[in-house]
């Protein structure tokens, strides 16, 4: 049976096997990932191209700007990170122990603004910015 022939029908007998296998695969992945617990972090660090540029501790409500040429403070909770690759604005929520990207100028789908800190990591790939939780016992981070 050739390719054009296969495209002529929306469903064939073998499809059931394929869909079943895919569903089993996702079930296995669900079971495997259920065992992994995510912990609350007490702080985070912001990295540009692998170099730490900002550090924050939720408990002490302290924010340490490591690289002044990149990170600009707007107020206690808002910081602008501008590099030659682009601008990101982050907002720290001390009461919720969370941080999010509130603005970016990458012009595409702005993935980092939809990433949640509670999922473990926020990444802005085009600007090489990574926001990573710190001081986690049993964390899965290898880097």
């Amino acid at each position: 049976m050739d390719a054009v022939e296969k495209a002529k029908k929306p469903f064939m007998r073998g499809d059931i096997v394929v869909y079943t296998l895919l569903l089993i695969l996702s079930l296995i992945l669900f079971i495997v990932t259920l065992g992994v617990k995510t912990e609350r972090s007490n702080g985070f660090s912001v990295y540009f191209d692998g170099v730490e540029i900002l550090k924050c501790d939720f408990e002490n409500k302290s924010v340490t700007v490591i690289d002044n040429s990149i990170v600009k403070k707007i107020d206690d909770a808002n910081y602008t990170i501008s590099t030659n690759l682009g601008v990101n604005e982050i907002e720290i929520d001390f009461t919720e122990s969370s941080v999010s990207v509130v603005d970016t100028d990458c012009g595409l789908s702005k993935e980092c603004m939809h990433m949640s800190f509670s999922d473990g990591i926020i990444v802005c790939a085009p600007h090489k910015i990574v926001i990573r939780p710190t001081n986690l016992s049993g964390e899965l981070i290898i880097g």
């Binding site: 049976m1 495209a7 929306p10």
Partner: protein, 173 residues
């Protein structure tokens, strides 16, 4: 490879890049980074009409052009996933009997999502992002079925004319 095939390959490439760019304007589906993958409709059509080697060209060119618009760091996410899922689709199309293009598309979509998830985990050095994998698998099945059905409808309405005009033999893959 005649000139009509070259023109068709160019058309498919252009359409898939346009689909990619239009799609990147929308917010992600539920999970960060998740997309419908509408550009892959034309990769699948290319695989059906023009064969595997031409589809590899399409995927590479698509990823390079998309990289120009979306930043070159995107290439390392899109290229490995694109080529591996294309190869899976090709092998299924060629060697497995009794499966339709919709099931092939669903499998390729799942493989694409999982490869991209792994690349992402390696790049950001955090295995925590792998927790997305089960959701990406389910989403991949749904999006793949949608893409596959679109390919089926396009093929249904275009195949006779295209095949006649291009002299594509039915064993082109």
């Amino acid at each position: 490879m005649n000139s009509k095939k070259v023109a068709l390959l160019g058309l498919f490439t252009a359409l898939s890049v346009i689909m990619f760019l239009v799609e990147s304007l929308f917010p992600p589906l539920i999970i960060p980074g998740a997309k419908l993958g509408l550009g892959n409709i034309f990769v699948m059509l290319c695989l059906i009409y023009l064969g595997y080697s031409n589809s590899v060209i399409l995927v590479v060119v698509k990823c390079l052009i998309a990289g120009i618009f979306g930043g070159f760091s995107q290439i390392m996410y899109s290229l490995p996933a694109g080529l591996i899922s294309l190869t899976i689709a090709f092998l299924m199309l060629r060697f497995i009997k009794n499966i339709s293009i919709v099931a092939i598309s669903a499998s390729a979509s799942v493989v694409h999502n999982l490869v991209q998830n792994c690349v992402f985990a390696i790049v950001v050095k955090s295995y925590k992002v792998l927790l997305y994998a089960p959701y990406l698998t389910l989403l991949g099945v749904l999006c793949g079925i949608l893409t596959g059905l679109t390919v089926y409808f396009i093929n249904k309405n275009l195949s006779k004319k295209i095949i006649k005009n291009l002299n594509i033999k039915e064993k082109s893959v």
